[in-house]
Homo-oligomer: 274 residues x 4
């Protein structure tokens, strides 16, 4: 049992920079069925108190806050054997366009902590990023239809459908390991057909379009390329690190979405390489 | 005051066909400030009863149901001077692809009725349709960048960004006039760069992509083309028919949407022509 | 990989009654990483086709439709080893109030099917139901504060906070077993402090309030009572039937929700009894 | 035409305090139908630039930011005659419970600016607040049913249904007038049956319940009491100040909501008094 949808402002102090995130927090503990009546209510009270304390001072990251709340929950509920905390927050980073101009882009950070009494605490760091995909298949079929199959060097790519894509990448590690969310965001952005920007001058817009079409991807490709970059970026993380990547394209030619997801471990990804 | 979010199944009997729509209904009446206490509650009860009666037998259209509920509200609340009813429902139509294959596509019907005691009852018929736009500007800029400005007849259009677009068209008329929602849906679909489909074989997919790029449109163009088709389709409707068209593109190159809207009258549209 | 958010009208023929549900369908298959390029697109095409065929004729229940789509997916994708289908639909039932009046109430049906090649097909039947909870703890504390602890027989219950509660119950069984969704809805409604109704006359309203306060429940109690009724209602289902019950109260005294969930098996519930 | 759903972090410097709000911004300008083609795209670019500049330095309030963006839009689009900006942001305030304990509560700020070339700029300041209502009618009917009509002084109020209520209050004034959003939030909170809190100890919870039941209100009453407090609080604002109050209760005994709304002016409210 727990509480869901607690909205709190969270101050994150990271890399010398102080940011303030609007977060939504869900908190759960397991309770033995022998605990009833007013005890239940007291639990809710304790949960609320701990969340309140947790958000009152600057923290290092949402996953650190999640871990902290999770640990205090087990300390205060001596009859609980398990606690779980989910935190989501709106996040912003300054990005450079190829032209050098800078733009503030929005992201969603996702953090979780789970703690089974006796076992160590696990934390999960994730990010949800909006980008763009262009479809390789439509491109190929348009070429076939047009008898357009012998392409010259340097010519423009063929038209295709392209669309907004939302991709989430998450890593779950034992508490002592650190994963920087900004790195994950960078990895996800590098896996799209092209990243997207809130503000584009005309030439920049054309370049985003060209980049995306030179780099056509199915949702399945976005997931695969994400995993490859994660594998390369985190040699220091243990084999049992759980890696989840989910990519969803809001298909421009359909009213529904296309989706691919893989849940795996770094160990499995490493052995795929051999 | 009123109630919002009442979910009801509504059976529509139209053109010999019986369909069942899942609808969400909002109902409002104005109340003089002298009415207080338990009367207020009785009003809610009456509203609920009337909605219940209204949905119990097959009706001709959501706007007819809205008008019916609206009229009964004023009959039963003798001290109210105004009533308003909104109904939204999921709707489906079979569509033909250029290849002749058929596909069931989803839409949202929107109906409203407003009744000011003394004046006649007004009803509004609308539809929200999902389609696709391809951007004319990025296409032009890509050509400029590539020195690609002399185009041959019959060659493929230049790449651009394209995306899901959601467009809503609504007509508000005195009760005696009839507007068929299926016509409005057809008009909106004809105003996109291309309509979209739930199921596309490879060649059909390529053809949707080609159609969209041969027909690039800003949201502003979608609105303008919608209005032109509405003007042509409804010569029998009066000058003071209120026409609202709103088009929103979920831009593939941005994290935000582009939007255009025009609220006008058939009379104004007709005089623009002269 | 798969598609999400496919909207279709589904005709369900059950107990001599023909209803039409607006459904949202998600479909997934696993693909070996060696499958790439245009094959991926063909998969999406096959998925769409199968969904289209599945919804074209009246079916016995959403879980039967889910099972059917699931099986066809594995038939058509010979290299896939796993398929999964989720369907959600708006649903309505006529309910009797204690006064005998009848009211049409809205529910959400949830169906899933999963099929691992070689293993049998599993189907899940669930329902999401809106009801009402009154808090036992606040009631107790109000009494303490007021020195109100010696209560007479037949007197009114003490005030408390009460609120809208949303509870979901789901059973997952091998394909050959049948679970009637209407039964599950009845079980969930019986587990609230009181069921709720779209239309209530004044006395009915007062009776719902009295019922809820004579029957105060935490979200944890709603889950427990649900499980007890499920245990009693399904002696014929196997021990490994997975039972999931989740209850969330939109607490009137807080801006956040209270939530309880238990995922267990009928076997475990049966052994708790001994 | 315009852009919708632009997410930006906005730093607000007010009353010596620096807060950072996650905001969603919509921006519109009217365009003559003679403006077409690449001009349209340039407009979008200008809109994006201005939003970017607007959010780069601490501002005094969301309505000041909205006004600023609005003015710059007309400066840069010499052919536009009208501009409109909407901003919504998550907001937090520390609140004191009657026991003296403090709790961080969440709100939504709503700001708008509209500028018709030639006329002055209008700005709107609003807040959406979550609270609680207890129903006066059910209370009365329960008493009638129980023959409970002669109440003693000091005894507990009768049970009723109570629920989460969401109320929005907005004031629209010419640019030179100032309205402090924190005041509006205070007014809305004072208009509920009781304000609500993220964290309540047992006695505090009981007191919130008692307060709400001693102060039962229909949505219509919440609106009326809001308007009365606004009238009293803003003697300095002009008669043509537009006041909008909307209150929606997520009725615990129904699956739908009850809603009341009034759009009026301070002048009209003042003349009601005479």
């Amino acid at each position: 049992m727990g509480v869901t949808g607690v909205k709190k402002p969270v101050r994150v102090h990271r890399a010398g920079r102080d940011t303030c995130l609007t977060c939504e927090i869900d908190v759960f503990v397991d309770l033995p069925s022998t605990q009833r009546g007013s005890h239940l209510s007291r639990n809710l009270e304790v949960i609320a108190e701990i969340v309140e304390q947790g958000v009152s001072e600057p923290i290092k990251g949402l996953e650190v806050l999640a871990a902290d709340i999770c640990r205090r929950l087990l300390d205060r509920h001596e009859y609980a054997t398990y606690a779980e905390v989910h935190i989501k927050g709106d996040y912003f980073l300054e990005r450079s366009l190829p032209t050098g101009r800078r733009s503030i882009e929005s992201y969603k950070l996702i953090a979780r902590a789970t703690h089974k009494r006796g076992d160590g605490l696990m934390k999960m760091i994730g990010a949800r990023v909006i980008g763009m995909t262009a479809c390789p298949c439509a491109m190929e079929t348009v070429d076939e239809i047009q008898g357009n199959t012998l392409k010259q060097e340097g010519c423009l790519p063929t038209i295709s459908h392209n669309q907004r894509n939302v991709t989430t990448a998450m890593l779950e590690v034992p508490e002592q390991f650190e994963v920087e969310a900004d790195d994950l965001i960078e990895i996800v952005e590098a896996s799209f057909s092209s990243p997207t920007f809130e503000i584009l001058k005309r030439k920049e817009e054309a370049n985003v379009v060209i980049t995306a079409h030179r780099n056509p991807k199915f949702v399945e490709d976005v997931v695969r390329d994400n995993l490859a970059l994660i594998l390369k970026r985190y040699p220091q993380l243990p084999d049992d690190t759980v890696v989840t990547v989910r990519s969803e394209s809001e298909e421009s030619i359909h009213k529904h979405n296309a989706m691919a997801e893989r849940v795996t471990t770094l160990g499995e990804l490493r052995s795929d390489l051999v």
